[in-house]
Amino acid sequence: MRFFDLFELPVSFQIDSDLLLERYREIQKKVHPDNHANASDNEKLLSVQRASEVNDAYETLKKPLNRAEYMVSEHGFDVRHEQHTIRDGVFLMQQMELREELEELESASDIEAAFDRFYADIKKLMTEYTTKFESEFEQGSYELAADAVRKLRFIYKLKDEAQQIEEKLLDF
């Protein structure tokens, strides 16, 4: 099952999320196990499976990082499960410095303002690598598109960590 085909959407990172949600609800209504209450056990099982596949497809396309990962996985790059490492020194050094900076935010005089600035920096990086992913993907350079997705994984992880730390610090 191809996820974009399922929702009758073009294969593109730019997605109409309202339309995605609308199509998801339509399909979910059709396949929902409750609508197959009088069906045979086998048909019931199939409808449960189908409903879970549709959920999975929706969750994948809804979130930007998952969507990008899915798009390159369709071209043979399983970024999420691959074991190999990256060695882009400039990028990794920047990631390390951002993680060091994050450790120091705890002692900032205005924590909220410090985190806002930090998120703004992360957002800039996200935009940079998302744009790179999109343009490489459109040109059919899937290896380079996958490389941008690999870097996005580091950036999204950093954002998650920052949010966890901020929540802990601001939790009075």
Partner: protein, 125 residues
Amino acid sequence: MAYSEKVIDHYENPRNVGSFDKNDPTIATGMVGAPACGDVMKLQLKISENGIIEDAKFKTYGCGSAIASSSLVTEWVKGKSIEEAQKLSNTLIAEELALPPVKIHCSILAEDAIKAAIEDYKSKK
């Protein structure tokens, strides 16, 4: 998931944490990252003129297994020649720390960090 005692020991008392000046000509720096988990590792080796690793330091942002793997390799490589250090495989690291299969990539990260540092050493010469 239960960590082995050795992982916990290295995680709670990491050896050789820190940095050397990367512009020092006797210092080799290996920077590696694992996209699967978003871990980032920096391994630095101080290498003598005759190619012996005199000292090692690391800085790792990642899970307990990644920190333990990098801490362990800093202990292992000290006193070794770069040829010997190059032979350290991720399987040895994983065995020593009793890493479960889902954490094997942490030992791969540490092995690759050594390799990246040695490449940096060779490129500096």
